[in-house]
Amino acid sequence: MAVAVRAPARPFARPRSHTGFWSWISTVDHKRIGILYGVTAFLFFIIGGIEALLVRGQLATPNADMLTADEYNQLFTMHGTTMVFLVIMPLAAAFGNYLVPLMIGARDVAFPRLNAFGYWAFLSGGLFLYFSFLFGGAPDGGWFGYAPQTTQPFSPGNGIDFWLIGLIITGVGSLTAAVNFIITTLNLRAPGMTLMRMPVFVWMNLVVSFLLLFAMPIITVALFQLYFDRNFGANFYNANLGGDPVLWQHMFWLFGHPEVYILILPAMGIVSEILPVFSRKPLFGYAVVVFSGIAIGFMGWGVWAHHMFAVGLGPVANSAFAASTMFIAVPTGVKIFNWIATTWGGDLRLKTPMYFALGFIAMFTIGGLSGVTHAIVPHDYQQTDTYYIVAHFHYVLFGGAIFGLFGGAYYWFPKVTGRLLGEGLGKLHFWLMFIGFNLTFGPMHILGLQGQPRRTYIYDEGMGWDAWNMVATIGSLIIALSVLAFIVNVAKTLRSADRAPEDPWDARTLEWAIPSPPPEYNFAEIPVVHSVDDFWHHKYTEDDEGRLVRLPSGGADEGAAAGEAGEGDSVPEQGAVSTETVPEEHHEAEEGHGHGDGIHMPSPSYFPALASIGFPLVGFGAIYGWWWGAIGAVFLLAGVFGWACEPLAEEHA
């Protein structure tokens, strides 16, 4: 990593450094932004986990008084809100940010400062939401905030307003990230990388970005409407004056259902990358897996009212959504079968990433099956609002998304840090998490069917729920231990001097063709791509029976180019990909950057972070008084103006 030459600092000078604390504040490098997202989201994961442990502590025994009703309601609301908006979404953004440009052979995203801005919006929104604990109490309306119990007469105090505004702020971050990823994926692919040669992770990230693009505005409108109800006497959800609380539900779930696919598709993408590498076989049915992901993205818009079966929409609506919900299981199932077929006949290397990927398949299947049973609408009248539903979504979101994300963490840790996480601690982490997770959420299927409703801070003895609730609480403690194992593993690894080889897993995709950690500019020369898994095809070719043949070092696999290989491709290095020499006239002047070949990268900038300081201030203004908002608006405007006026990249003195 280059250290820039430091000129004497001028006040308000554009930052130039690439090391030190302030370099993290001003970074526009997608890799560093990815690390920021990842570390911040992991901290929120710990906080959300502690909230869950407190919830489970209260529910371990009947008629417990560890927490009051009010405390419990705040904790479960914050647990859900944190895990959905401040953990899983930003973790996906972490992986997407770090990997997408590397996987498509690009040097950065399309809008580097907008990228940084998205992170700062996430951080400031998350912090704003948590300020509520200090300012009169956290929101207690559930992560789904149903009106009218979240309107003024029924939720006095400012907690709900913190929730509304916090989510609007983080929503801005999600929207900017989505725009960035779409343009990056469409426009910045390396030559030869057609859409159907992109890694599945990039595809899933693209689908997720479109889902975000269309879903975020809907919830933003709903959040504003509720804010206006609470603060300006609007009547959107006020049934006394013609408002309809069900409108909130429609809008929330029109966002909310695509949201759950936003939560799971990145992890599905990660699993689609891990399984082929650790099976030493290509992904089975690449095109089908991609199209299933797209189908899920589309069909996800047509199932939202399956969260509302008991609302009284009528048998016709309920039947239509029952059908659409059942059929969205088809593309999901197709993916599961393709993943299993990827491993079948392979040579399975059972390292920690593979454990988590296989665990994903097993756990997500359970969650998917219980999900299909929710579509049995007359029985959903029994299942809905019970712990059976809690079991379902934890199986898909924890057993699915979180397992997949941890698998990705183990898989790409050597890429990001140049070090391999320990296998012993990794497997301990996996087994503790697997056992703890199943002990916690498995019994909840039974508890729900035995009549325990969700979102209840207390239950009576004699209901038959005591034993399984205690088991679930014990399971949650085991989960906590597993997370501890992960933290110890990371700490040990970062402290050790052992370096990982550049391609420790013998992987398939472009990010493994460059050093670990990658230089700021990613690729010294932009690669030319000839096939899916292009990097792999520079290492191996196939004989007539489809068996792998290792290529001599420096060989390029012409066969995989499908007739598009050009003669005159330069002979690559061991494990490197064929590259294109950037024509001379496109080189910028080199000015002692220390970068390779005079590559000009976008310069760091404080403006995204500066602008985002405005968000929580405007938020306080919306709750406490306009003068806060005015100060916040100044920060926002100053930040945005400064950003608009400064060029993307500066010449260094």
């Binding site: 505005p217 409108v221 409407q225 932009i526 003669e567």
Partner: protein, 206 residues
């Protein structure tokens, strides 16, 4: 050196160049289109809410009871004309006429301001006649829908004014006309949304 490409890059830009674009459409422009697609859902949600609620509320408390269609038609015409001036501004910078660029941008901003002024006046009249955000659910949805549109117009006006400022400082040479084009895309979108709002809210009878 030959290489396979999905599509020829824009302007012959090479990969790694800052205006490299596989789709052939400049990234900033594509980004604005993506953002506008998102805005369609935003206004779609607000318009849907309005359509749901337009007939609810006590008689005399609905926006339809206090509209002044001729007045709002004039206001709409003003906004429509501002799209014309925006087009003229883009044409000016594309042929390198910086003075005309600033004149037409200023005209656009002024017409937009007249529109906003008209909206503000209209709202004060409604409030005087007893129609405000808490009167009824139809009034609520009317004010929030048109209010958000007004905020979007205002943001556009500020954007146009800053473009004028940047042009005065020489920061918008002819080659950077894309900046104006992108602002134009946003401005036209806001105008089209108004046409939809005007039709759905004012013209279509309850």
């Amino acid at each position: 050196m030959t290489h396979a490409l999905a599509a020829p890059p824009a302007h012959g830009a090479a990969p790694g160049d800052h205006d490299y674009a596989v789709t052939g459409i400049n990234s900033k422009k594509l980004g604005m289109w993506a953002f506008l697609a998102s805005e369609c859902l935003f206004f779609g949600a607000l318009i849907s809410t309005y359509l749901l609620y337009r007939t609810r509320g006590p008689v005399g408390q609905r926006p339809g009871d206090v509209y002044d269609i001729p007045y709002t038609s004039v206001s709409s015409f003003v906004l429509l004309m501002s799209s014309l001036t925006m087009v003229l501004a883009l044409a000016a910078i594309q042929r390198g006429d910086h003075r005309r660029l600033r004149i037409w941008l200023l005209a656009t901003a002024l017409l937009g301001t007249v529109f906003i002024g008209g909206q503000v006046y209209e709202f004060t009249v409604f409030v005087h006649e007893g129609l405000n955000i808490s009167s009824s659910v139809s009034a609520t949805s009317f004010f929030v829908l048109t209010g958000f549109h007004g905020v979007h117009v205002t943001v556009g006006i500020l954007w146009l004014l800053s473009l004028i400022g940047m042009s005065l400082r020489g920061l918008i040479p002819q080659e950077r006309n894309l900046e104006i084009e992108i602002a134009g895309l946003y401005w036209h979108f806001v105008d089209i949304v108004w046409i939809i709002i005007f039709t759905v809210v004012y013209l279509v009878p309850n």
